[in-house]
């Protein structure tokens, strides 16, 4: 009974939010920027064609860095805007739980990012044209990218609930995302390896996105890595909920 109602509320919010993305020009601008940036990095910086390799390794290499800025930009309005315009009061006095509201919004934004990722399909066509790529690795690469988008998004959703200012939300989210990328990033770990205890290094490295992302995009869908991304999402959305529960004002 309650489950059916939950699903109905989540679906209604999901639909409203997703329609909101495609009803505003910002979404299209975002998609264009996303595709241009990825294209620029992959083709221009990495000399995609000169490498002559029929795979998307360099493409997936860039995704975390592009997401680090673009996903917080998508997430920043999720709650800040509701707080600033007072619609949060409308939303939270409807007969829905905070969890349903968060999930509805999160899933809509995640679906939007999924659509952005799908729009990179010409890359796949290009490598298919160039040779016979490992389609399994490409598939898991996309899965990994999508999961990472979700993790970044959950961070952005959480920071967006902290403030009415989208700019502040964006900056905090980028900083946290950067931490998750750099934790376990070899050039950084080397700096610390001299003095930090090994167990701490390992722990921090385990928290980083990149090792998990790396194993997924190699073509290995390990439950451990999936679990990792879903735990990050779960944790961030739980904090998001706690922030909204305990807010003092709109």
């Amino acid at each position: 009974m309650r489950t059916a109602e939950s699903i109905r509320s989540i679906r209604a919010i999901f639909k409203r939010e997703l329609a909101g993305y495609f009803g505003s020009p910002v979404a299209y601008v975002f998609i264009v920027i996303f595709l241009l940036l990825l294209g620029f990095f992959t083709f221009y910086i990495n000399h995609f064609f000169e490498m002559g390799q029929a795979d998307l390794r360099s493409f997936f290499e860039w995704i975390p860095w592009v997401f680090m800025f673009l996903v917080p930009a998508v997430a920043m309005r999720l709650w800040s805007e509701e707080r600033r315009l007072g619609t949060l009061e409308l939303m939270l006095t409807l007969p829905i739980t905070i969890f349903e509201a968060i999930l509805g919004k999160f899933l809509a934004a995640w679906a939007f990012l999924g659509i952005c990722l799908l729009l990179t399909f010409p890359m796949v066509l290009t490598v298919l044209y160039l040779g016979s790529p490992d389609m399994g690795a490409i598939f898991t690469g996309y899965v990994g990218s999508f999961l990472m988008a979700g993790a970044f998004l959950s961070i952005g959703s959480m920071t967006s609930s902290l403030t009415r200012s989208q700019v502040i939300s964006f900056i905090i989210a980028v900083v946290i995302c950067l931490f998750f990328i750099l934790a376990g990033y070899p050039p950084i770990t080397e700096i610390f390896s001299g003095w930090a205890p090994k167990w701490l290094m390992d722990l921090v490295a385990q928290m980083g996105f990149l090792p998990h992302y790396a194993s997924i995009k190699r073509g290995v869908l390990d439950v451990k890595d999936l679990l990792y991304f879903f735990s990050v999402i779960f944790f961030m959305l739980a904090v998001n909920g706690a922030v909204l529960e305990n807010r003092k004002t709109a």
Partner: protein, 312 residues
């Protein structure tokens, strides 16, 4: 019934709402009055479940807003202060969204939305996005959202704020029409509104209830309640004033304005609620060959009462 039990809200060090209790029955329209910053919105935000109370609770039709929040919220229609609405949505889409979340049966959903649009005079703008609407229309869209699911309990935070006099009139009419089978709380700092729509009024100042009565009852506490106001033309108004003061049943009398032979006099009876002294005053005045232009018994003025209570 809405039962508010010792609601209290403390913001950091400031107590915005201090142990407020009252009940509202179906058929009542309760006016929630108070100067800006008195705690009206904060109280309403707690009753509707938006802000958790620091202590106390509200029970809406048997459901506790703290303990059984979802069921309580289901019974409420709420128009928040400043009427927030999703700006990028079209009016119909917005109302359909609210209906869907509220679980209005999907077969009758469109009919309900259409009916509400009619009722709130939104037919002309139904396909417009909210961002392009004027303040009055935005207010009505948010109002429409609050009555869409035909709730038993309605809470309006300054429903006529920022509307022009015609729109104010329309909104008040709508509220009055609905009142028969609903319990309604509306906040305002417009005193005419209380007279026009409310069956009961609570005055709140600094987070505390300082008066709870019918509008008539409140007005009866006004110092001018029951006083007589006469406009006359006479040879010597001042001489008349002395005679009026000497009249039995008259406690005091004063000339409010005078120019030559014209004067406006206010007469305070010994007991405002005793049998009226107006006819005796009239007889006395015409016996002295004064011309009476008008005579008015004052009901008392809410703004005087309001000022007296909220500034003391």
């Amino acid at each position: 019934m809405i039962e508010v039990r010792e609601l209290t809200k403390v913001f950091d060090v400031k107590t915005a709402v201090n142990s407020v209790s009252f009940t509202v029955e179906k058929g009542e329209i309760l006016g929630f009055l108070g100067p800006n910053g008195a705690g009206k919105s904060t109280t309403m935000r707690m009753i509707t479940g938006f802000l958790p109370p620091s202590s106390g609770t509200a029970v809406i039709g048997g459901c506790d807003i703290v303990g059984d929040s979802l069921n309580a919220r289901r019974k409420i229609g709420y128009l928040p202060e400043n009427a927030p609405v999703y700006r990028e949505m079209r009016v119909t889409d917005f109302l359909n969204f609210c209906a869907e979340v509220r679980g209005v049966d999907s077969g009758s959903q469109q009919a309900r939305v259409d009916e509400t649009i009619e009722k709130c005079f939104l037919s002309d703008v139904r396909f417009q996005t909210v961002a392009t609407l004027s303040k009055g229309f935005k207010q009505r869209v948010c109002f429409a959202q609050s009555i869409l699911h035909d709730p038993e309990y309605l809470i309006f935070d300054e429903p006529t704020d920022g509307l022009d006099p015609n729109q104010k009139h329309e909104v008040r009419l709508m509220i009055r029409e609905m009142s028969a089978e609903k319990a309604i709380i509306l906040s305002t700092h417009i005193l005419d509104e209380v007279d026009a729509v409310c069956s009961r009024a609570i005055i709140i100042a600094n987070g505390k209830i300082v008066a709870d009565d019918t509008p008539q009852g409140l007005k009866a506490t006004s110092p001018t309640h029951g006083s007589l106001m006469v406009r006359i033309t006479a040879e010597e108004p001042n001489a008349l004033l002395m005679l009026l003061k000497a009249e039995p049943g008259v406690k005091a009398a004063e000339i409010l304005e005078q120019s030559d032979r014209h004067a406006r006099i206010r007469i305070f009876p010994e007991n405002p609620d005793a049998p009226p002294i107006a006819d005796r005053i009239l007889a006395m005045l015409s016996a002295r060959s004064a011309t009476v232009h008008s005579l008015l018994v004052e009901e008392g003025r809410l703004d005087e009462v309001f000022r007296a209570i909220t500034t003391s």
